[in-house]
């Protein structure tokens, strides 16, 4: 057992991952601003169509896949070593770091040199440079070693503490990585069976097969991003407030719901796919609504914790709200992230609502949706947590703390303006992803009003992002000053029961998850393969 990890390999691992994640955030964000301005009518800044689709691919891959993955790897090891206080297997971490970095570099090179203009969903039969797929595979396989390291570390802790209940943040991290394994097995199958033969040998592909495996991965992927953010809310918000979490039990039940329901729901991304049975689409719709309930539990739990803290500080019926520490960026950022996630959750329920999906599918409504979920609930939480990591992990004082206080508010104001307008444009039929929305002058005028207003919001939250990146980088480069402990990640104040209940029986929940995945996907896969594949040749032209 060790208490001090400063300068240890574990901390170096976390620093490299989180530092790299912030660089990816800056780059992906820059791509985002360029593409936003390029598609805004009347904007003086406009890149070419080829560049637009290239940086759109970069924006999606760098932010949604790479930024999140590297940040989560670093955060996981940072938290698990401090909370569990048992050794983690360093060899596994080293393998993980080398593979993921190599994978990221290969994929980044293919995108930045314009050899992979296939977007983050890389739908076959579009063909990118093999580096793109090999990079993706390495990134994913490499990340599995971090998962294995965490699982082994947990088992070691369990051996030393046979009866103790699992701390909530560790429960959250375990759920995160279990969901990641559930998510990535299908995409590894997809890449090995469909994409690598296509990219390396020019093999023909079946579009439905490629999409079914992709979305088998694509939805649990979003919970992989979200679960560490929720873990941070459950862990840090009560800490910032100096109270206990309202209900540890409900927090764990929410994580269990994610473990068992996050995967057998991918068909809700294929609701308008020809060739998928209506009954199966409906089944996945209902299962998606159930996984949505987990977030309703989270919202209740966090808000009840806030009320408890506010009332303890002397607030009344509504007065407790103003008693909360709104000037603390870590607190305010996480609560604003939670509020944004409320909008993200509601728009998400609309997306998955079977018939309603026809109205919003592939419109800019979806862009509004995911900028409140992964773009705020996750990204803003990670950014404000980084202020804590600067002191605890990087041993730096946060410079320009007054700007750091403004950053979360500015971000959320920008996101709100952006997402609202993009959602409204989507309801009016404006497509997502498209470079130029004039369509020979036939596009409805109202699109332009929404797109221009949305761009204002986009620039505002890009500015907030730039403030964050500058604070982070400058704090590391110039501010080597004395340690200022803003808060402590380690040594949870949680009082752990010495007796664990069935809720802590992770193995049971994995078994339930596997059964549900088999139930949810055996029929779609059986139908897919029994009706026979319809193969088409890969297409590299026009990309």
């Amino acid at each position: 057992m060790r208490d001090i990890f400063k300068g240890s390999f574990e901390d170096i691992f976390s620093r490299i991952n989180i530092g790299f994640a912030i660089i990816l955030l800056a780059l992906g964000g820059l791509f985002g601003v360029l593409q936003l301005l390029s598609r805004t009518p009347g904007s003086p800044i406009k890149v070419s169509a080829a560049t637009y689709y290239q940086i759109l691919t970069g924006h999606g891959v760098f932010l949604a896949v790479a930024f999140t993955l590297f940040f989560i790897m670093g955060l996981t090891v940072f938290m698990s070593t401090r909370i569990l206080k048992v050794d983690i297997n360093r060899l596994l971490l080293k393998i993980s770091l080398c593979m993921t970095l190599l994978g990221a570099v290969l994929a980044a090179v293919s995108i930045l040199t314009g050899k992979a203009r296939v977007l983050y969903t890389f739908y076959a039969p579009m063909k990118a440079h093999p580096f793109f797929y090999i990079g993706a595979a390495l990134l994913i396989l490499g990340s599995w070693f971090t998962a294995f390291a965490l699982f082994l570390q947990y088992l070691k802790w369990r051996k030393q503490n046979p009866d103790r209940e699992i701390p909530v943040p560790i429960f959250g991290l375990l759920a995160t990585w279990i969901v990641w394994i559930e998510a990535t097995i299908p995409v590894v199958i997809d890449v090995l069976k469909v994409y690598l033969p296509m990219a390396l040998l020019g093999a023909s592909v079946d579009v439905l097969e490629a999409r079914t495996w992709f979305w088998f991965f694509g939805h649990p992927l979003v919970y992989f991003w979200l679960l560490p953010a929720i873990t941070l809310w459950y862990y840090l918000i009560p800490k910032r407030l100096g109270v206990e979490l309202f209900s540890k039990k409900m927090a764990k039940i929410a994580f269990i719901l994610f473990i068992i329901y996050s995967t057998p729901i991918g068909l809700h991304h294929q609701l308008v796919d020809p060739g998928v049975d209506a009954r199966l689409k409906y089944l996945h719709t209902v299962l998606t609504l159930i996984v949505g309930s987990a977030s309703m539990l989270t919202a209740f739990n966090i808000l009840a914790t806030l009320e408890r803290a506010g009332r303890k500080a002397g607030g009344g019926f509504f007065g407790w709200i103003i008693k909360l520490p709104w000037r603390d960026p870590i607190f305010s950022g996480m609560i604003l992230a939670l509020i944004a996630f409320g909008f993200g959750g509601i728009t998400g329920i609309i997306n998955t609502s079977y018939q309603l999906n026809n109205v919003v599918h592939n419109t800019s409504w979806i862009v509004g949706h995911f900028h409140t979920t992964v773009g705020t609930a996750v990204a803003l939480t990670f950014m404000v947590a980084s202020y804590g990591l600067l002191t605890e992990l990087f041993n730096r004082k946060v410079i320009a703390y007054s700007l750091a206080r403004i950053h979360p508010y500015l971000w959320v104001i920008g996101i709100f303006i952006f997402s609202m307008n993009y959602a409204l444009a989507g309801l009016a039929g404006a497509p997502r992803r498209t470079y130029d929305l004039t369509f020979g002058g036939m596009a409805p005028e109202i699109w332009y009003t929404y797109l221009k207003a949305g761009a204002v919001g986009g620039v505002i939250f890009a500015l907030a992002g730039a403030i964050f990146v500058l604070i982070f980088i400058l704090s590391i480069l110039v501010n080597k000053g004395e340690e200022v402990r803003i808060f402590k990640f380690g040594n949870p104040h949680e009082n752990l029961n010495e007796k664990h209940s069935v809720i802590d029986n992770i193995k049971l929940w994995i078994v339930v998850a596997v059964i549900l995945i088999i139930l949810g996907y055996s029929i779609p896969l059986y139908q897919l393969y029994s009706q026979g594949l319809s193969l088409v040749p890969p297409v590299a032209k026009g990309l």
């Binding site: 689709y53 579009v207 308008v272 018939q355 999906n357 592939n362 470079y435 036939m442 319809s534 990309l543």
Partner: protein, 156 residues
Amino acid sequence: MVHKEETYEYIWIVIVAAVIAGLSVVMAYYGFALNLNPVCNATPIDIKEVEKLTPGVKEIGPGIYEITMIGQQFSWNPNRIVLKDPKRVIFKITSKDVIHGFQIVGTSVNAMVFPGYIGQFIWEPPNNFEGRFLIICNEYCGVGHHLMYATLEIER
């Protein structure tokens, strides 16, 4: 013994469960009793046979039209459709190359278009739908994606 605070939590869970059950029932009713489903039917087609299809509009009954549509980088064929007093429109859509997305702006017509499959669905335009509608490709299909559009005119 149930703590008072826990009671609130259980009430909340019941509300959430009721909302989920309500939504599920409504969607099932519309989908399976009223037969309002998104596009689901598809017939496999050898991509070499796509050339042999005749894209265009056929009136197969009074007010009943069958439209065969082919998407390719970066156009729809046909790219101008005129319908006189349509009641029921049967779409049969496929692609010559990559995935496209078929959307008629201002309606709920929205379907993925796959090479290797002919997707089929029925649209019943409401009586007050009149004039020119914009058809776009809403799934990224290459650098000319934004140039891929067509028109649909409804005359009454």
